[in-house]
């Protein structure tokens, strides 16, 4: 079930209807008594902003009449905005909902702790996910192509798996781990049959932080950002009881 379907189902819940109705009642009548909510104040800073926007569009300041019209329009905006909220018009508007969610997510993700991570932090990260940072085994071998001379190196020394695969193809690279040492052995590549003598095979050395610090840090940072936004969502989500009917 997608999030939207889940949300749609939640919205069909009687309890949700009750809560929404309650909220609506509260919105319509509950705060009628609060005088500050019935007050609209346009201050000089806001008038300054309105004039500046006008000037940006028309390359001149507004006349007095135009400025008054801008202010009247701002008041109109505010009145409609508050009345729309009272009527709950934001609730069934997909654009509004998406904007609100983006803003919330923006809040939730910006203040990640961005201090440069220490070596200890990164070493810990490396120890926790060694597979992500594993180096490649390397191979030293000679090869002869059954089809005669070919524009491939006759031998490679300490070539990492990825380089072997890039030059000879995936199948050839995949065959090397099982090859006997020091014997001419048939191996197929993307080009055809080869005879290969494997002279050395070195397992990937354990990754050392000093060699790959940037890579570890990139991974750590991306993970921190993901975890932080997930935590922020969880903190909000945990205050809700969500039931999903299937």
């Amino acid at each position: 079930m997608t999030f939207r379907e889940a949300a749609a189902r939640v919205l069909r819940e009687p309890l949700v209807h009750f809560l929404v109705a309650g909220a609506l009642v509260f919105a319509l009548f509950g705060d009628n008594g609060a005088p500050q909510d019935r007050r609209i104040a346009i201050d000089s800073a806001q008038i300054g902003r309105l004039s500046a926007e006008f000037a940006q569009t028309f390359r001149r300041p507004p006349t007095r009449a135009e400025r008054d019209a801008l202010i009247a329009n701002a008041v109109r905006d505010e009145v409609y905005y508050r009345e729309a909220l009272r009527l709950g018009l934001d609730r069934d508007d997909l654009v509004v909902r998406r904007r609100m969610r983006l803003k919330m997510e923006g809040f939730a993700t910006t203040p990640v702790d961005l201090a440069a991570p220490s070596d200890t932090t990164l070493q810990g990260w490396l120890d926790r996910y060694p597979a992500r940072f594993a180096g490649e085994p390397t191979y030293s071998f000679e090869q002869r192509f059954a089809g005669g001379p070919i524009a491939l190196p006759a031998s490679l020394d300490d070539a990492p798996t990825s380089e072997v695969a890039a030059r000879f193809g995936e199948d050839f690279a995949a065959a090397l781990p099982r090859l006997p040492l020091g014997q001419w052995t048939p191996v197929a590549s993307g080009f055809g049959e080869h005879s290969v003598r494997l002279n050395a095979r070195r397992p990937a050395p354990p990754p050392r932080l000093a060699d790959i610090r940037q890579r570890v840090e990139n991974d750590w940072r991306a993970a921190q950002a993901r975890a932080s936004s997930e935590r922020a969502y969880r903190a909000l989500r945990d205050s809700y009881t969500v039931t999903i009917e299937r």
């Binding site: 999030f3 569009t57 998406r98 983006l102 961005l114 524009a151 993307g190 610090r213 950002a225 993901r226």
Partner: protein
């Protein structure tokens, strides 16, 4: 929808993170520096990359729905798995060795900013409409971008959208964050991440776009911001900007035009822009700033057009749809425009201009690249993530009308799953790859990774192939992108000979043939071309008929989207000398390497989504590689 929003979040988070990175250069002390990377005596390996990729910082890519940013683009190119905007797991079968992210400098981050701006502050009704569309989901978002591109092509952009002050601040902050991200992923010796941008020059709807790529790291490149093309129709401003950058920082930068096929004849003019004979000074200026051209990419291939090369049965790869008009379809195409659009003709025009002025403005090497707007640099037919998020993998994409020129006859299947650049560099570093680009020792493929070598000299013989011919090529000749050494005593004596070597993609299809394409000018100053089949598979069975090698055949099973390597050859190599050489004629030679036919991406789609495609859809083709030419100048 959830996917879109959550990946948007990841992209923003990445930028936010990178933006606060303090001093990335200081922290890179532990990573290998470029100087520590071992350099080969001469290039031993071809390094594969994409010099043309857009992320959510591009005004149109974001608008088309892409929510993946530069960090995901870099991770993906390095071979890691990422989640596409539409929620699919995406991974390259084989990583790339290098990548240049080239987001549009015009309105950098502009749609993202417009979409995220508080609606109440947007005064312009058109911008308000776009804001709402951008926030209404993928369909609305794509609609908005189609309208933005259209407005741009018709010079009808809302003034507030073009406001230089806001734009400058936004550009600076996005650019700095982008640089920090790229710096974090550049790993000399292992993976090269270039800094760059796209300069989106348009004359109406005519495409004069250039990608701009820096040799340098963030310390230098932070001194400038990407240069916008708005309001100009000639590249002169870009060249001044490049000169200014090099002078101010001591760095180096180059520009790569692309989609000449959508320029309606303007990319490779015989005249200077706006008419008038091309001067030697102008020709020199262009050649100095623009050593390469992107010859093939998703929006079509610009090697040769059947109108210009009627005797070339392989001309016209991937021209369908694109040949109808300019980028925006603001103006249709007429036949006389093709000559200013296709590379083979540009090479020929270059010779004629050099005959007249002494300088060749179009002495360019060629590369392929994707121009993908999904942050995903895919060029494999069976793993194609589309031109933009509107045609990421999904059932209907092959037959969708596509957004540029919606009204007239361009469809999803006209997009090519293609364009990678092969670079013969001495190491995988910014400096080594950039320098190889400057000397044009590069080639283009339509996606597959064939290994292609091409050397020109005066004394190569068949016996050379039995020895260390790569060393021979570099020491006794010049590689692709070079010019025959003249004045060496040997020049002009005998005929030039070429070492030609092509290996199939080790995980791909066999090769059909290798061709030398020659162009030259005669005494009357007229340019000519000829295609020579120089080495092909099954020569015993495939005898020349009427000067041409018969077709290689076809093993494609369209319904299953498969082929077999029962035909073709894994390797084709020869030493060829030009039987029609005239020492008095200026000439160029480049290779075209043809694969056997293989299924194209719509065939894989048809299988995957159980589609019945109309007969006009391209479901198989012969993929190919084009090398940069080697040029011959007659003695003065």
């Amino acid at each position: 929808m959830r996917r879109i929003v959550s990946t948007a979040l990841a992209g923003c988070a990445a930028i936010a993170l990178a933006g606060c990175d303090g001093n990335p250069l200081a922290r890179q002390a532990e990573t290998k520096s470029e100087a520590e990377v071992a350099q080969a005596e001469f290039p031993q390996r071809v390094y594969w990359g994409d010099s043309h990729l857009h992320t959510d910082n591009s005004i149109d890519a974001y608008g088309f729905g892409t929510r993946l940013g530069p960090e995901e683009a870099l991770r993906f190119a390095r071979g890691e798995e990422v989640t596409s905007t539409l929620g699919l797991k995406a991974r390259l079968a084989r990583p790339l060795d290098w990548l240049a992210i080239t987001d549009h400098s015009d309105g950098l981050g502009g749609t993202k900013a417009l979409a995220e701006a508080p609606r109440i502050l947007i005064r312009d009704p058109v911008m308000k409409r776009w804001h709402d569309l951008l926030n209404s989901g993928p369909a609305g978002s794509q609609r908005a971008v189609a309208e933005i591109i259209d407005a741009r092509a018709r010079d009808k952009m809302p003034p507030a959208m073009m406001d230089p002050d806001t734009g400058e601040k936004r550009t600076r902050s996005i650019w700095d964050a982008h640089i920090d991200t790229v710096e974090r992923y550049n790993e000399p010796g292992k993976f090269t991440a270039f800094l760059g941008f796209e300069y989106t020059l348009m004359d109406g709807g005519k495409n004069l776009h250039r990608n701009v790529i820096f040799r340098d790291g963030g310390k230098r490149v932070k001194k400038i911001v990407p240069f916008a093309a708005l309001g100009t129709v000639i590249p002169d401003g870009l060249w001044r900007y490049m000169d200014g950058y090099e002078k101010a920082t001591g760095g180096k930068v180059l520009a790569i035009p692309h989609n000449s096929n959508l320029s309606n004849g303007l990319m490779f003019q015989l005249t200077e822009p706006g008419g008038g004979a091309m001067s030697a000074a102008y020709a020199r200026r262009r050649a100095a700033h623009e050593p390469l051209v992107e010859i093939t990419q998703i929006k079509g291939d610009s090697e040769a057009h059947p109108f210009l090369s009627p005797n070339d049965e392989f001309a016209g790869f991937g021209v369908t749809g694109w040949e109808l008009g300019d980028l925006a379809m603001a103006e249709g195409k007429s036949n006389e425009m093709f000559a200013g659009e296709y590379l083979r003709e540009a090479f020929k025009r270059g010779l004629t201009i050099q005959d007249r002025t002494g300088v060749n403005p179009y002495k360019v090497g060629v590369i392929g690249s994707t121009d993908s707007h999904t942050s995903l640099a895919t060029a494999d037919e069976n793993n194609f993530f589309g031109k933009h998020t509107g045609n990421e993998p999904q059932a209907g994409r092959a037959m969708q009308t596509q957004n540029l020129g919606t009204r007239q006859g361009r469809f999803g299947w006209h997009y090519l799953a293609g364009g990678y650049a092969g670079v013969w560099a001495v190491a995988n570093t910014r400096a080594a790859i950039f320098d190889a680009m400057m000397r044009r020792e590069v080639y283009a493929t339509t996606g597959p990774r064939m290994t292609v070598r091409f050397f020109g000299g005066w004394d190569f013989g068949a016996g050379d192939l039995n020895g260390d011919w790569v060393r021979a090529g570099y020491t006794r000749g010049v590689p692709m992108g070079g010019t025959f050494k003249s004045g060496s005593g040997k020049a002009g004596k005998g005929r030039p000979s070429f070492i030609v070597s092509a290996l199939k993609d080790p995980d791909g299809a066999n090769l059909d043939r290798v061709q030398v394409v020659k162009g030259w000018t005669d005494k009357a100053g007229k340019a000519h071309e000829k295609v020579f089949d120089v080495v092909w598979s099954d020569p015993a069975k495939r005898k020349l008929a009427g000067g041409k090698v018969p077709s290689v055949g076809d093993t494609v099973d369209v319904a299953r989207a498969t082929y077999t390597n029962a035909i073709g050859a894994p390797q084709l190599a020869t030493v060829w000398s030009d039987p029609e050489f005239d020492p008095g004629q200026r000439a160029f030679y480049y290779l075209r390497v043809m694969e056997i036919p293989t299924p194209q991406w719509p065939a894989y789609d048809a299988l995957r989504y159980k589609l019945k495609l109309p007969p006009e859809v391209r479901v198989k083709a012969q993929e190919r590689a084009y090398t940069s030419p080697i040029w011959y100048d007659p003695p003065a």
